[in-house]
């Protein structure tokens, strides 16, 4: 090809632009690394301090409460977390998805729906300790229902999960293309059938992902449980009793003088992170099978 004339549109890239390009790239890479450092450090410390504490005994025995001798494991904390979070999910997920369905299918742009949306947004910003306090005041201090109990912790967690579930469900439901709803309506389906047979199945993977993430969040919350579920040593399957949980176990153990208790705290922290990691991986797997995102 002959030499390119100077006036052509395909002038070569200038040196100044190339330098600016590289500068920006470097800047962004540096920022990313800086952001990753704490994350890496956290994981490193967790593994370093916690891995040693984990053993079968650790996972299968309750904390003994002994100051001297065998401190025991974290079995009751694991079960407690699982039970309380399960109950919270059973409450929060159907209600949350229900509110989201109302907002996208029925309320849409109405004044009431906009108000609901606004309040849900506010609720996502409420500090989790406030939920705990709310339950403490209404269900514990009021005397009607008495003392600390697992189910009260569940309710506090459910209040925390609700806005998260609603928000993510609404986003997923809005992603369901309108023309699918139209097709179903045009076939002569009443709106509830459109929702149950077309909208929900299509949005299902996204809804599952959103719910799993909300569950993972709730599993790690400490503050709501401080005033509601309390700390006990024994494993119990009765949600009416006071119930242990991983975050609270960590909370109590970390401040102790004994090294073995502190080690147990790290082990519990690692276990909790593992549990959450497991949930997140399942959520990822489910979302990959989704046809919407």
């Amino acid at each position: 090809m002959s030499a390119v004339p100077a006036t052509t549109a395909f002038a070569p890239i200038s040196g100044a632009r190339r330098r600016k390009d590289q500068f920006m790239r470097g800047l962004l890479a540096a920022g990313t690394i800086v952001a990753l450092i704490p994350l890496v450090l956290v994981i490193y410390y967790l593994l370093k301090r916690g891995l040693g504490a984990i053993s079968w005994h650790f996972l299968s025995s309750d904390p003994t409460g002994n100051f001297l001798g065998d401190p025991g494991g974290i079995k009751s904390a694991i079960f407690g977390t699982i039970e309380m979070v399960a109950l919270a999910s059973v409450i929060a997920i159907p209600v949350g998805v229900g509110v989201a369905l109302y907002l996208t299918e029925y309320g849409k742009d109405s004044r009431f729906a906009s108000a609901v949306r606004y309040f849900v947004d506010v609720m996502t910003g409420v500090p989790s300790i406030v939920f705990g306090l709310f339950i403490y005041i209404t269900l514990i201090l009021s005397g009607n229902v008495g003392t600390f109990a697992g189910w009260k912790g569940s309710i506090a967690l459910a209040l925390l999960m609700l806005p998260i579930v609603t928000r993510s469900a609404e986003v997923v439901l809005l992603l369901v293309p309108d023309h699918l709803r139209e097709a179903a309506l045009a076939l002569g389906a009443p709106r509830w059938r459109v929702v149950s047979r077309v909208v929900l199945p299509t949005a299902l993977p996204g809804l599952v992902t959103g719910s799993l993430l909300a569950i993972a969040r709730a599993a790690g919350e400490t503050a709501p449980l401080l005033f509601t579920a309390a700390i006990v040593n024994g494993t119990t399957f009765n949600l009416g009793d006071r119930m242990n949980s991983l975050p609270l176990q960590i909370f109590t153990d970390v401040g102790q003088a004994q090294d073995r208790l502190v080690a147990r705290a790290w082990g519990a922290a690692l276990t909790l992170v593992m549990l959450i990691l497991l949930l997140t991986l399942i959520a990822r797997f489910v979302s990959r099978r989704s046809r919407l995102t």
């Binding site: 023309h179 699918l180 139209e182 097709a183 309506l185 076939l187 002569g188 046809r291």
Partner: protein
């Protein structure tokens, strides 16, 4: 002497012109004869007004859709043809802020009558959309069966109905070995025929089509046009189209709309060889659009 006067001046009876496929037709609109197969369903729109909030989209529109005939609606963008069609099966009011007044008679029933259930209207008046929209979570079989299941039908006798609908849509041979596969795995033209099969499964009386071929390639388009020709023996069909050649090929009568009003409605042949209204002439010859 201008063309209008010249037309009125011809005192002799108009010459018969041979229509498409050799049917004899007079120059005026032919009196329709219902097909021998079954009595068709007539749709009559009377003084229809449709609004999107403040915007007046359809103005005092009256039009007759003959039974067992294909009627095409043509007109420039925004003239209201899609709106008109959506008023017939009352999908128009699903848009927030949209409403319509007037009468739309399907045979003897006014679909806008307050006693009429909107869901029942939509079962009698089926609709095929511009973009093929099979339900993504359902198999081919389930998609067609959805036409029945969404109305509450249950049970295993659906199998015959599904097969019959797929045959009517000309899709059976292509999918009979993979009924359990996902509906969205088909090509565009096949998906659209699947949507037609789904609509047919619900056994409507009238079929509305809103630019059914605009998202399809030419061969798929021709297949669907042939399908429409077969379907009209059993259903009354109204098709909205941007493509005038398609209207010319497929429709028995054509209606031209402009800014929410009906300008002219006549036999397709007349519309494209000798329309009465000057605006129709301008539009079909492409002088504006």
């Amino acid at each position: 002497m201008n063309p209008q006067e010249a037309k009125e001046m011809t005192s002799e009876p108009p010459a018969t012109t041979r229509g498409r496929f050799g049917r004899e037709q007079g120059a005026a609109t032919a009196t329709p004869v219902a097909g021998p197969q079954q009595a068709g369903h007539r749709v009559t729109v009377g003084e229809l007004n449709a609004y999107y909030g403040e915007q007046h989209a359809i103005k005092d529109l009256s039009i007759d859709f003959e039974p067992n005939r294909v009627t095409a609606l043509i007109g420039p963008s925004g003239c209201g043809k899609s709106t008109l069609v959506r008023c017939i099966n009352r999908m128009h009011e699903e848009i927030p802020g949209a409403y319509a007044t007037g009468k739309v008679m399907v045979d003897d029933t006014d679909v806008y009558d307050s006693r009429v259930d909107v869901v029942a209207v939509r079962r009698a008046v089926g609709m095929v959309f511009q973009k093929p929209n099979p339900f993504p979570t359902m198999s081919i079989y389930d998609n067609v069966a959805a036409g029945l299941r969404l109305r509450g039908a249950k049970g295993s006798h659906l199998k015959e109905r599904v097969e019959a609908s797929l045959r009517s849509a000309g899709l059976w041979d292509e999918v009979k070995d993979r009924l359990a596969k996902a509906g969205i795995g088909l090509s565009g033209g096949q998906q659209q025929r699947l949507c037609i099969a789904r609509t047919l499964a619900a056994e409507p009386e009238v079929i509305l089509m809103d630019e059914p071929c605009s998202a399809l390639d030419p061969i798929a388009t021709l297949k669907i046009e042939e399908l429409i020709d077969e379907l009209k023996t059993k259903y009354t069909i109204v098709i909205v189209t941007h493509n005038m050649q398609q209207a010319a090929r497929v429709a028995d009568t054509t209606a031209f709309m402009l800014s929410g009003e009906l300008v002219e409605h006549a036999d397709t042949e007349k519309m494209f060889t000798n329309p009465d209204d000057d605006r129709t002439e301008q539009y079909v010859t492409g002088k504006f659009g």
